[in-house]
């Protein structure tokens, strides 16, 4: 673990891998819930880092973080969010070819996986979901699309994501959902938050 200064009031904690990042993030939330963490405005996990922003005394906190013993992330905690998907994405054939399976097997494999939101970003409510075995990781499209429709379920690298609204994107589209990923009038507005467990289920056409 390495702790980097980010301006006068933030720290970036760099972890060795995604699992340790998840564990460290879970530990931060656990300690914050029991008032075991000085007040911070934002805790932002990412691929291999956690950003702590709005820290009154970053030097003291950096010293304290170095003494923490962080247990592995709790495996199965909290409810599972279920997302119905029609696996008919424009890149389904491409993904099937990359995986070396038949097209209908993509849906079977993807929906049999339990995902976890590793972190969010890109747009409000867009989660980077991990869980797919490494042999199913795929590259981004060589040429990004100028408009990916809202609800598109897509793959890139180790991640699965669902576009909360129409936007440009370079991920491989495998399906679509009508689940509202983001609804500002709902509490919470985001269906996916870091740590959320997710399962995709096949919705027949």
């Amino acid at each position: 673990m390495r702790v980097l200064r980010v301006g006068p009031h933030a720290l970036l904690v760099e972890l060795a891998d995604a699992d340790r990042t998840a564990a460290f993030h879970a530990e931060l939330l656990r300690r914050r819930a029991v008032f075991g963490l000085p007040p911070v405005d934002e805790i932002v996990p990412a691929e291999r880092t956690v950003l702590l922003d709005g820290v009154a005394d970053p030097r003291a906190l950096a010293t304290e973080l170095a003494t923490w013993r962080v247990p592995p992330a709790p495996e199965r905690l909290g409810p599972v969010v279920t997302v119905p998907v029609r696996y008919d994405g424009a890149d389904l054939a491409e993904v099937a070819a990359l995986w070396g399976v038949a097209e209908d097997a993509v849906a079977r494999i993807h929906s049999a996986t339990e995902f976890r939101v590793a972190f969010s970003g890109f747009a409000p409510g867009f989660g980077y979901l991990t869980g797919l075995a490494e042999r199913y990781h795929v590259p981004r499209r060589a040429v990004p699309r100028s408009a990916v429709p809202a609800g598109a379920v897509a793959l890139a690298g180790p991640y699965t994501g669902v576009y909360p609204r129409s936007s440009p994107g370079g991920w491989q589209l495998i399906g679509r959902t009508e689940a509202p990923l983001w609804d500002a009038a709902r509490e919470p507005a985001a269906l996916f938050a870091p740590g959320t467990r997710v399962r995709f289920v096949i919705e027949e056409a």
Binding site: L4, P8, D53, S120, F122, A190
Partner: protein, 301 residues
């Protein structure tokens, strides 16, 4: 006239409405933003020149969190349907009420039906127009701010838009002396190095400290984009996406630095060479395209 109805004014009761006559280049609703949701991919947003925004609100007797309008370079024009107290702060501009000159940086009482014009900024970029009672647009995650990156909050204003105002909270505060920093002719930005200064060559760090950059015309609420010597990377390859803070100076592949302002993305994959402390950002938000910019890097231990 005391106790009687004023002829020609709408009946009292109910909130006043502001109609946008012209939105200039870009006019948005802004309050203090929606911090605390970065982990969901939600930018903080909010007024770019916060001291000016706070001042405009104070002048009309509003609490600090009231929503006001933020103009961009060309000002705006509005009409009110009831008597309303307003104040303009931030970038100086000509203020006119029904064509007659009115005060900048002071409460101005608009009669019912009056047209208020904020002219182009004579210096700086962003003027703030506060109404007693504040703009009562629907809040999203506790804020009425327009976020241009993610599209949260009210859309940027267009001619014909109507905005309801809230009930005035109290009498305007007034002020004898306005402590206000004029928009800078040249911008000097303190810079705390890191977290990714080690991704750049010694020559790039040297260039960053010595070069004069210029504010690019492509700057917006997301970032102050700078033209000048490109900053050369020591490390090739890709940085995994990581959390971004307000004031982060991100260096995209072009090598030309971008200072992140309120609508910045919450995560990003280009290395951040340093961070401009928040106190220096209001001046950055008022730096017009072409303004010379220098950085004064420091290293915190």
């Amino acid at each position: 006239m005391i106790g009687g109805a004023v002829t020609g004014e709408p009946a009292s009761g109910g909130p006043a409405t502001v109609t946008v006559v012209s939105a200039g280049l870009l006019t948005t609703v802004q309050d203090l933003g929606r911090p605390g949701h970065a982990h969901l991919g939600v930018p903080r947003s909010g007024a770019l020149d916060r001291p000016a925004h706070l001042l405009a609100n104070r002048l009309v007797g509003n609490p600090a969190g009231a929503a006001a309008l933020e103009t961009t370079v060309l000002g705006c024009a509005v009409r009110v349907d009831r008597p309303v107290t307003v104040a303009v702060a931030g970038a100086p501009c000509a203020v006119r009420v029904d064509g007659q000159p009115a005060a900048w940086g002071a409460p101005v009482r608009l009669p019912a039906g009056a047209r208020l014009d904020l002219g182009p900024a004579t210096r700086g970029v962003r003027s703030y127009l506060a109404f007693a009672g504040g703009v009562a647009a629907a809040p999203v995650l506790g804020s009425r701010s327009t976020d241009l990156l993610s599209g949260l909050g009210p859309a940027p204003l267009s001619a014909g838009d109507r905005l309801a105002l809230g009930a005035p909270a109290g009498p305007p505060a007034g002020a004898d002396v306005l402590p206000w920093a004029a928009p800078p002719a040249r911008l000097v930005l303190p810079l705390v190095l890191g977290p990714r200064d080690d991704w750049f060559t010694a020559r790039a760090l040297d260039a960053l400290a010595r070069s004069v950059y210029h504010v690019s015309t492509t700057s917006n609420r997301i970032g102050l984009r700078l033209d000048g010597p490109p900053l050369e990377r020591a490390a090739e390859g890709e940085l995994p996406s990581e959390g971004m803070v307000l004031g982060a100076v991100q260096v995209p592949p072009s090598g030309r630095p971008v200072v992140f302002l309120a609508d910045h993305p919450t995560t990003g994959g280009y290395p951040v060479i340093g961070v401009v402390p928040a106190a220096a950002l209001p001046a950055a938000a008022q730096a017009a395209p072409g303004t010379p910019v220098r950085f004064t890097p420091v290293r915190l231990r």
